[in-house]
């Protein structure tokens, strides 16, 4: 659990840290779209350079990044493996039953691997450089247009910020209960599948109970402080869009156009 860095925040005060969370969210979505527009290696090279430049600008060491991605490796290898062995094509190099390695398969697998890596890198960068609450604020802002279709934006935003606020708390609680049960002889890491699943009960039941307790306590506390519903509340944390954000947004626009043009000519 300690090793996975996706979703964690890395405190710092770099260029990327200071960008507006709304911008970072938009750019992340844009980046994923770009990844799927890109069909040729020069485009991937370009996107790869963008990722490296962004990581560099965040002031987080590349080594820390790579180590944090290790837990995702299984997923990547699994997907790449599927692509590799189950893509049928004309140039078959090797075949065994339904498994085969073809030229198309190799190319597809390489594409998938690169796409995976680039997307994981970018989204990890987003969570590493943006505080969870900023992400929630950014999402709330970006969801505003949905009010037209009666989507409860404020409530969802509140839900999000509460959920994010309690992630570390529940993590602590999980560690604590796990330790308490280990101290009573539960072994979480050994034994067969069924034995391990059973060992989770002493963890999950108390965790459930304490989540419900926390929720009901928090509700009471919120109501007693004058909370009614999402409408008509003011806002304390204000997002500030600065000139640098505009510049980055414009640069991304240029990059998008450039990529589309590049794809067109390749």
């Amino acid at each position: 659990m300690d090793k996975l860095i996706l979703g964690r925040y890395y405190p710092g005060d770099s260029f990327v840290h200071r960008l507006d969370p709304r911008l970072k969210l938009i750019l992340n979505i844009l980046f994923i779209i770009l990844i799927f527009i890109a069909q040729h290696w020069p485009s991937y090279l370009l996107l790869g350079l963008v990722v490296i430049a962004s990581v560099w600008a965040s002031g987080i060491s590349l080594r820390f990044f790579l180590r944090g991605l290790r837990p995702m490796l299984v997923l990547i290898i699994f997907t790449v493996g599927l692509q590799l062995f189950f893509t049928s094509g004309q140039h078959v190099y090797w075949q065994w039953g339904i498994l085969s390695i073809s030229q198309e398969g190799l190319i597809n697998a390489a594409y998938i691997a690169v796409r995976f890596l680039l997307i994981i890198f970018m989204s990890t960068l987003l969570t590493l450089t943006t505080q969870p609450l900023e992400i929630a604020d950014g999402l709330e802002y970006l969801m505003k247009p949905l009010k037209v279709v009666k989507f409860p934006v404020n409530e969802v935003a509140l839900m999000l910020s509460i959920a994010l606020r309690f992630v570390p708390k529940l993590m602590d609680e999980t560690t604590k209960i796990m330790n308490a049960q280990r101290a009573r002889g539960v072994d979480f890491n050994n034994g067969g599948l069924i034995k391990r699943a059973k060992a989770l009960l002493p963890l999950l039941i108390p965790l459930m109970m304490s989540s419900i307790d926390i929720a009901s306590d928090l509700t009471t506390a919120m109501i007693s402080r004058g909370y009614r519903d999402g409408e008509g509340r003011s806002r304390y944390r204000i997002l500030k869009w600065r000139p640098t954000d505009t510049v980055i947004l414009a640069a991304s626009g240029v990059l998008t156009v450039g990529l589309i043009v590049l794809e067109h000519f390749l």
Partner: protein, 289 residues
Amino acid sequence: MDITFKQVSYTYQANSPMATQGLRDVTLHFASGSYNAIIGQTGSGKSTLVQHLNGLLIPTAGQVIVGQQVITPLTKNKALHDLRRQVGLVFQFPESQLFEETVLKDVAFAPKNFGKTPAEATAIAQQALRLVGIGPELEEKMPFDLSGGQMRRVAIAGVLAMEPEVLVLDEPTAGLDPVGREEMMRLFAQIQRERHLTVILVTHQMDDVVRYADQVVVMEQGHPLKVGSPREIFADPLWLQAHNLELPSTGQLVARLRQQGFKFTSLPLTVPELLAQLTPQLRRVPVDG
């Protein structure tokens, strides 16, 4: 069981930029059958220290020796099962560890994990429940239906049912009412005497330290700052103040009496000691009207 810490250090999230040091070069000894108190400010490493006692945390440097078992940075988790039975750890707010359908089953959970037959485990559990003052009428209830204080007792019974030789108590009375606190602390003292347990108590209650502890360890920033008897630790009020530690209530009263001109040769820690020094001086004070 004797417990020895030899130059133990522990770093959280070692080898990452978020690494923080929990313990720093801790060398300590807890004698078999002694009652030890660990005090210090929040975040001074008290809880980190006690989690080393049953191998929940493995030191990043140094050795922890509990009875026959030596825990080094290379010790594997599998080797620690037996140690966990010998060292009973009562966590802060232990009621959050209850999960079985009935109180009895929950208390019997640990003995069963450590190899007792269901019948033996039930018998031990009933015994442990009586010990903490839970009657047979509550045995078949859901733990979640009990009051907070009762849940705490059941959780503690769950640890006592392991029949540990070392009992580690991490603020066992936090959030209890005064009567509950008093009862609980007396219970621990009684069990310690009867079963010759080594007790390690983490607490902020200086009165409990004075009343029960043989040895006190003052922790600061992951390092034991001072080790001694309660008398040695509380002898210097200025030193305590400098390290943000409270005096026990007799000590606080003495400080105020000193301001009023009363003289004390040594610091009285208990009420009888206080009275022994105070009474002769009171006789000299002329009584008004």
